[in-house]
């Protein structure tokens, strides 16, 4: 089974707590987006799952097996890096074939798989080129193709679309989503682009300062944020927040009134009043 389970994952860099007590559970065929502002520990979390970073505490399980002590190459995962990390001295075809060499497949079979995946991602025309001579979108497709050419346990994407222009980003978003849907693997995508998270994810984990603030479906994250941070982080334009005074309870609802002098004037955009309630 292609699953990722992470329990109490913690990473310390010296005195700095980069990731603290993160719990994640990604089922087979599910796409989980780690969303958060820069420096919130989402990439570190991903790198710990990949095995490129050691864990200070906690456990990573891939396909039910504890992999903390296992080298990245033995974890059977494929990762797409933010800057694609294509091998600059190898042609596109060699880049795509590289992960297969480790599996000791015969050359004919490697060629077959390469041309197959190249057809899938429209790379057939550029197979003989070096990465330096590719357009940005093509580089991105090579990176994705190199990840899916093997049949790994799960996929990790680190800000896969951040380098593309807006138009390309939209097409690639659809394309990646389509490919992932066809593979039914556990997938973790790191992004700071909420649009990306909201459109591609089955579930979103919003992170701040190394902690997970909320894990929920895109719809729930958007409409029912669990706390002020999530409420403020999600949505463009931002959700309007208004301080109010709690005056009483009516069954499951609360009654509140605006202070006579609002501390922050509501904007002219359509807004909803957010009442701060002590639970």
């Amino acid at each position: 089974m292609s699953t990722i389970q992470v329990t109490n994952l913690t990473k310390r860099f010296g005195d700095m707590l980069a990731v603290s007590g993160v719990d994640l559970d990604v089922a087979a065929g599910e796409v989980l987006c780690l969303l958060g502002p820069s420096g919130c520990g989402k990439t570190t979390t991903l790198r710990m799952i990949a095995g490129l970073e050691t864990t200070s505490d906690g456990e990573v399980r891939i396909a039910g097996k504890r992999v903390n002590e296992i080298a990245p190459s033995e974890r059977d995962i494929a990762m797409v890096f933010q800057f694609y990390a294509l091998y600059p001295s190898l042609t596109v075809a060699e880049n795509l074939g590289f992960p297969l060499h480790h599996e000791k497949l015969p050359q004919a079979e490697i060629d077959n798989l390469v041309s197959e995946v190249a057809r899938k991602l429209e790379l057939t025309d550029v197979l003989h080129r070096l990465p330096g001579y590719l357009a940005e979108g093509e580089k991105q497709r090579v990176a994705v193709a190199r990840a899916i050419i093997r049949d790994p346990n799960c996929f990790l994407f680190d800000e896969p679309l951040s380098r593309l222009d807006v138009e390309l980003r939209q097409t690639m978003r659809g394309q990646i989503k389509e490919i992932l849907d066809g593979l039914s693997k556990a997938t973790v995508i790191v992004t700071h682009d909420q649009l990306e998270a909201l459109t591609m994810a089955d579930r979103i984990a919003v992170m701040r300062d190394g902690k997970i603030e909320q894990i929920a479906s895109p719809h729930d994250i958007f409409t029912k944020p669990k706390n002020l941070f999530v409420a403020g982080f999600i949505g463009t334009p931002q959700m309007n927040l208004q301080e109010a005074v709690l005056t009483g309870f009516e069954g499951t609802r609360v009654r509140s009134r605006l202070p006579t002098k609002p501390s922050r004037w509501p904007s002219i955009l359509p807004f909803k009043i957010w009442t701060v309630v002590a639970r």
Binding site: L52, A78, M79, A85, P88, S89, H101, H102
Partner: protein, 297 residues
């Protein structure tokens, strides 16, 4: 590039071809720089009279006598027979010692800088600084201890001794230069190769080294020039068999008829050819190496 572009206003960012005036000016300036080299090369083809003529002559009948004299001289016995000067051997020594020394320094330096760049130790910067300090003192300060050590170790006068010394000479410089190239490389590529099942050796040789060709070439050229011209330690630590050209050159000064300028110029001219050759072959890499990473891609 930045100097060039900042010279022109934003609107005229395109590179303009220089006019005749500027080209001529540039030509004159480079001629002034190149003149000593030109003078030496000219002297190499002059007879003794032409070489010493006042005012200097610029038009003369070239002769190859000096070049012949580099390798052969007339025997003192009066039989008129030509005997070798051994200069060919000294040229071989210079080439062999420089190549081996630089190669060794590059191999060790590249591996060390990879370590410094990718697996920093506690106090990494201190180690790097210590490595650099070995280049801070003038070499003449350590010449007596090194001479005694080489004597006691039996390395004095052997190829191995000079090669080791030159490798050690070039090592700090290679480490620092290669480290800056490694720092510019994205570690993502290496991580990715690791995840794709590449061994650590594969990561280093298949991923890093091909990307660093320019850096290696640039480092090699600087190290070769440094080693090629080294005189002081060669003078002390080489024997008749392992003598390098700079030492041999110094030994031709003197003699019964004073300094033989023509002969000296001929040796220098021959001595310049290999460095010219290496630099010319690697010049494209050299430029890329020197400007490596100065512009964010």
């Amino acid at each position: 590039m930045s100097v060039l572009t900042s010279l022109f206003s934003r609107k005229e960012r395109r590179l303009r071809e220089a006019g005749w005036g500027w080209s001529l000016f540039a030509g004159i300036v480079s001629l002034i720089y190149f003149f000593p080299v030109l003078w030496i090369i000219m002297t190499a083809f002059k007879t003794r009279e032409d070489a010493l003529a006042t005012p200097p002559v610029f038009f003369f009948t070239p002769t190859l006598d000096n070049f012949i004299a580099v390798f052969y001289r007339v025997a003192q016995t009066g039989s008129g027979e030509a005997i070798g000067t051994g200069m060919g051997g000294f040229f071989f020594n210079s080439i062999f010692v420089a190549t081996a020394g630089v190669f060794l320094a590059l191999v060790i330096g590249t591996l060390a800088s990879y370590g410094f760049s990718r697996y920093p130790l506690k106090g990494n910067d201190t180690y790097l600084f210590v490595v650099l300090t070995t280049r801070m003192l003038p070499p003449i300060i350590v010449i007596i201890p090194i001479f005694l050590m080489f004597r006691m170790a039996g390395l004095s006068g052997s190829y191995i001794g000079v090669i080791l010394l030159y490798a050690a000479f070039n090592l700090p410089f290679s480490i620092w230069m290669m480290k800056s190239f490694f720092d510019e490389l994205s570690p993502d590529v290496e991580d990715s190769a690791r995840m794709d099942g590449s061994s650590e050796f594969g990561v280093f040789f298949k991923m890093c080294i091909p990307q660093l060709k320019a850096g290696l070439a640039a480092t090699a050229v600087f190290a070769v020039i440094l080693t090629w011209n080294e005189f002081l330690f060669a003078l002390l630590l080489t024997s008749t068999d392992t003598r390098t050209v700079p030492v041999a050159m110094a030994r031709t000064i003197g003699g019964e008829i004073g300094v033989e300028w023509g002969l000296l110029a001929a040796i220098i001219t021959l001595f310049l050819i290999p460095v010219f050759g290496v630099t010319y072959l690697l010049q494209n890499h050299l430029l890329r190496g020197v400007t490596f990473g100065t512009i964010k891609k």
